[in-house]
């Protein structure tokens, strides 16, 4: 009987200790919650930034850096050939390029083709035709090259802006 009595006393004391600890923790949590509430706006701001970043990525997609692509194309074409028309398009994650130009000879067209093949923005560079032109205004060999345009970084360069 005494043993049971002592056991119950021990349990009562232990329960009291635990309840005291729980009370202290509850007070600490209450203080923490106050601090958390005062800083909650920053979590919302971060969430908003993530949402708009995602929206920007979705809207702009993975379009290539057009400026870099056209500059590279100009350097690939201009030393020997002259551009007549250029058409580049990009939709979803696929792009196409079609380039018509005029060069002094077939050898120059081959050089243009070789340089276009080294551009990392393009793949599947194809040579469609190369023919001597009889036009007095544009003497030389007229040619057409097509290629696939590779995707750029999602969301363009906006991620780099601080």
């Amino acid at each position: 009987m005494l043993l049971f009595f002592l056991l119950n006393v021990f349990i009562a004391l232990a329960a009291r200790g635990i309840n005291n600890q729980a009370l202290i923790i509850e007070q600490q949590r209450s203080l923490l919650r106050q601090k958390i509430n005062s800083l909650q706006e920053y979590a919302k701001m971060q969430e908003r930034v993530e949402t708009v970043e995602k929206m920007l990525e979705e809207s702009i997609g993975t379009e290539p850096d057009w400026n870099a692509l056209l500059t590279a194309l100009a350097f690939a074409v201009s030393p020997e050939a002259q551009l007549i028309t250029l058409s580049v398009s990009y939709e979803g994650d696929k792009g196409e390029l079609s380039l018509q130009g005029i060069a002094p000879g077939h050898y120059a067209v081959a050089s243009v083709m070789e340089r276009l093949n080294t551009l990392h923005e393009l793949e599947n560079v194809r040579f469609n035709f190369s023919a001597e032109t009889e036009s007095q205004e544009r003497l030389g060999v007229q040619f057409e090259i097509t290629a696939a345009v590779l995707p750029g970084e999602a969301g363009g360069s906006r991620k780099e802006i601080p």
Partner: protein
């Protein structure tokens, strides 16, 4: 029978004490479990507070980013504002804006896309500058198509660009 009666009572009392003790022990265990849960919640809240303090330091950066994005994809826009912006960036980059055609707007869940076709005239360098402005400027553009035609009489180019601009919903 009389002698056995207190013993029987004693057994009953012992059993009752035993049951009471078991009940109390069970209660103590419940309290301990609750305390563990409270401690766990406290640790999680402390961790979350640390995260929020880090985010607080990032606050000015967030504000800057949000301002930037609100310019890139504003909440509202009119065709008049778009025209003004297009004319501004064309003039700034030394390219002539000859024609602007608006196509049907394409709404999505988060934003509305406004497809446009621009007819331009200018040098290759001016076109490169315009494309740079479209990529890095204050409004977001997505360029879908570029067509360039050289003119035999001069070094100017005739350019048609299909772009999309946006506003958020």
């Amino acid at each position: 029978m009389r002698q056995n009666f207190p013993f029987f009572i004693l057994i009953i009392m012992l059993l009752l004490f035993l049951l009471l003790s078991l009940y109390r022990l069970n209660y103590l265990n419940t309290l301990r479990e609750d305390l563990q849960l409270q401690e766990q919640a406290l640790a999680e809240e402390q961790e979350y507070l640390l995260l929020l303090r880090k985010l607080e330091k990032e606050g000015p950066h967030f504000t800057e980013r949000l301002e930037l994005f609100e310019n890139l994809i504003p909440e509202e826009t009119t065709r008049y504002q778009l025209m003004q912006h297009l004319q501004k960036i064309a003039t700034l980059n030394g390219i002539r804006l000859l024609q602007v055609s608006f196509n049907d707007e394409k709404p999505t869940d988060a934003y509305v896309e406004i497809p446009l076709e621009l007819s331009l005239e200018g040098s290759f360098q001016a076109l490169l500058k315009l494309l740079r402005t479209m990529r890095e400027g204050e409004r977001a553009f997505r360029v879908d198509n570029i067509e360039i035609y050289t003119m035999q009489e001069n070094t100017m180019l005739s350019i048609v660009i299909k772009v999309s601009m946006f506003f958020s919903r």
